[in-house]
């Protein structure tokens, strides 16, 4: 048997080193674990500072002993390669492990063990943990704002319908997808916007618009059976024809009657709120700001001075002012410039304002992509006889947009997280509702739960978006 040298562990006495090392590391983790979970201090007989640092020192020695390269043991090699490559890394790894162990018990107890969820008043929240009762009681408000409880099915239905229209794209055939894209960019945002908007706000006006909605849904369904050759025209003609037919030929009388008898109750946009408003605002801002940004980015590179300078002006203006002032102006200043009898809903103004604001950022991101393309691509497209639009739609934009997916995702995530700012015009989406709820005299002192709840929701939304953008990136990867 070779002599053991504890300063330089080697392969010859692998198991002796391994055995000692593992015991030391386990011991150190065990000490911290007991200390953290059961408040037992095994080292209390030692002076304060030493008992504090001893687990670290023991663990460090243990990791040093098991740091044996090419030991032949797969697990050991993996551990060494990932957390134990040198003394400094070993130290950091230990520190992180200890911090996690130390911070688990308080987190667990706050979130679950000492938290209360039963009951329906503040009185049940006596423990030291979170008061999920608060979230439970306010849940409806956090989701729907001040929207009347009896009418909330309308919001749910709208989102289901929206999701339905949106997911059609996933099941469409390759051939149909091309036309759907056009549809999604041009027609769909407008239809979806009016659908959601009028359906959720209700009132007699909804019935006038319902023809449009029925026409749109029918036209999509019929669209599957139209030969591809005619689809370009189809998406323009059919919805309009259907709309006219429905409005003036088929249902006119009946629906007017229906409208008179049981009109949906009018809910003004000021009452909308909570997470549903977050979704509405971010969804429509996303789909509106993208095409605007696209045109601004092309405009900025245009050869026509007027278009170029208007685009530059727009981009620089919207990038140069804070969102909060834009929102404020949209609700306070903007109406002053309108004729007196003209009225644009507050929510619509906010959506327009945020869309323009974010469009400026999207424009610059896309311009980055346009500039990254080699000039040869333009030359090649031109030499094949393509004009400006054909060149951009067929050759330049597909490549440029693919390049800037991460940048656009970045902007979109920022947009979603900017929506709480609409509180300045009195619209309360989820964070706004939280702020309102925490000032309710009966429920003072639960701000923490509310913010944690909102963070979790925002994280889920944003993580889903970032995952989706990553998938898109992978999907459109064609180089090598």
């Amino acid at each position: 048997m070779n002599k053991l040298n504890f300063l330089q562990p080697d392969k010859n006495n692998l198991y002796s080193y391994l055995f000692t090392g593992v015991i030391l590391v386990s011991l150190s983790i065990f000490i911290v674990f007991l200390n953290s979970f059961f408040s037992l201090d095994l080292l209390s007989f030692l002076p304060g500072t030493i008992s504090f640092f001893l687990p670290l020192i023991i663990g460090f020695m243990g990791l040093h002993l098991i740091r044996i390269e090419y030991s032949g043991l797969k697990f050991l090699d993996v551990v060494n390669k990932n957390i134990n490559t040198n003394s400094f890394n070993a130290f950091l790894s230990l520190l992180i492990i200890f911090v996690v162990i130390k911070s688990l018990p308080p987190l667990l107890s706050w979130f679950i063990l000492d938290a209360s969820i039963a009951g329906d008043s503040k009185d049940v929240c006596t423990g030291t943990g979170a008061c999920w009762t608060y979230i439970k009681i306010w849940f409806n408000r956090f989701m729907y704002g001040m929207y009347p409880n009896a009418e909330q099915w309308r919001i749910n239905l709208s989102f289901i319908a929206l999701a339905f229209l949106g997911t059609i794209g996933f099941f469409a055939t390759e051939k149909f997808k091309k036309y759907l894209t056009l549809y999604y960019v041009v027609v769909y945002p407008i239809i979806a916007f009016f659908f959601i908007f009028f359906f959720i706000s209700g009132g007699p006006i909804f019935f006038d618009f319902s023809y449009g909605i029925i026409a749109a849904v029918l036209s999509i369904i019929i669209g599957f059976f139209i030969p591809p050759k005619f689809k370009m025209y189809y998406f323009i003609i059919v919805p309009i024809t259907l709309y006219i037919l429905l409005k003036y030929v088929f249902f006119y009388e009946e629906l007017i009657e229906l409208g008179k008898l049981e009109a949906l109750e009018w809910v003004e946009t000021g009452a909308w709120g909570g997470l549903s408003l977050t979704f509405i605002v971010s969804f429509f801002c996303l789909i509106f700001c993208f095409p605007i940004g696209l045109f601004l980015s092309l405009g900025r590179r245009s050869d026509f001075p007027i278009i170029k300078y208007i685009s530059i002006g727009m981009i620089e203006f919207w990038r140069g002012v804070p969102l909060i002032t834009v929102l404020f102006m949209s609700s306070v200043m903007f109406p002053m410039f309108l004729p007196e009898d003209m009225f644009i809903d507050k929510l619509v103004r906010v959506i327009i304002a945020i869309s323009l604001f974010e469009a400026a950022y999207v424009a610059e991101v896309i311009r980055g992509g346009l500039q990254a393309l080699p000039r040869g691509q333009y030359d090649a497209a031109k030499s094949l006889g393509m004009g400006y639009w054909k060149m951009h739609i067929l050759v330049i934009l597909p490549q440029a947009l693919k390049l800037v997916i991460p940048g656009i995702a970045n902007t979109f995530l920022a947009l979603v997280k900017d929506t709480p700012l609409i509180f300045v015009v009195g619209l309360l989406e989820i964070v706004g509702m939280l702020n309102l709820a925490k000032t309710n005299p009966e429920w003072l002192g639960f701000a923490m739960e509310g913010y944690v709840f909102a963070s979790v929701l925002f994280f889920i939304i944003c993580y889903a978006m970032s995952k989706y953008s990553y998938n898109l990136e992978q999907k459109y990867k064609t180089e090598r």
Binding site: G376, D379, A380, S383, G385, M386, G387, L394, T478
Partner: protein, 244 residues
């Protein structure tokens, strides 16, 4: 007039203050193969880029197939559709498959039905011998294959004139031959070609005339045999002695 497919008279071009092309006069007859050679920076590439107006000339006139190149963009697109161009860096569209690269312009510019366009594309891909790669993406092909695809792409527009801008300069020596073969075949099929190249072997084999350019001027223009056998100007002699 009728068989003069390209007529350039008194053409001048500046990049800022720098004059790249000086008093260019050039007439190309139908079905002629012209090779343009000369040292780098002599304006060869700029000259042929002017022929389909990827560069604008400032003075003089260029008439391609009876149409004068002016600022009217609609006309230019029509002319460009009749003038195929092959670039040094291939410039294939990396987001499209080889087949789609070839069918894109016929479908969207010439409004050809998709089926016909694909058939045509496969024919041309067959001619340059990469029909079996039709569903791959440009990034998956070698340089030579990419350049042959670029030739097929240009041919799919059924151009009257083909312009080649140093088509083999960015290729490995081994791949040059396969591209030149494709070009020789094309020449034998009777295409009007203007080729900027340093491949003198190619020039000797297919060119009807050779043009030597230096410092933005056409120094010498002669029948191929004449050009190589007894060049007139000293500059040409020097160039040939260095390159051959």
């Amino acid at each position: 007039m009728s068989d003069k497919i390209i007529q350039i008279t008194e053409m001048n071009k500046w990049f800022g203050d720098f004059q790249v092309l000086k008093n260019i006069n050039l007439e190309v007859e139908k079905n002629k193969k012209i090779v343009v050679c000369g040292p780098s920076g002599s304006g060869k590439s700029t000259l042929i880029r002017c022929i389909n107006r990827l560069e604008e000339h400032q003075k003089g006139s260029i008439i391609v197939d009876g149409n004068e190149l002016t600022e009217d963009t609609k006309d230019i697109e029509k002319i460009r559709a009749e003038v195929g161009m092959v670039f040094q860096q291939f410039n294939l569209f990396p987001h499209l498959s080889i087949l789609d690269n070839c069918t894109l312009a016929p479908i969207w510019v010439k409004k050809m039905p998709k089926k016909d366009a694909e058939e045509l594309a496969l024919q041309h891909l067959e001619k340059v011998q990469i029909a079996d790669q039709a569903n791959k993406y440009p990034g998956q092909l070698s340089g030579g294959q990419q350049q042959r695809c670029a030739i097929a792409r240009a041919l799919c527009m059924e151009p009257k004139i083909m312009l080649f801008d140093e088509p083999t300069s960015a290729l490995d020596p081994e791949m040059i031959k396969e591209v030149l073969d494709a070009m020789v075949n094309l020449a034998k099929a009777g295409m009007t070609m203007i080729v900027v190249t340093h491949e003198m072997g190619f020039a000797k084999e297919v060119a009807d005339e050779v043009i030597f350019m230096d410092e933005g001027m056409i120094v010498e223009r002669a029948e191929t045999k004449e050009f190589f056998a007894n060049p007139k100007s000293d500059r040409t002699k020097l160039f040939l002695s260095q390159i051959l």
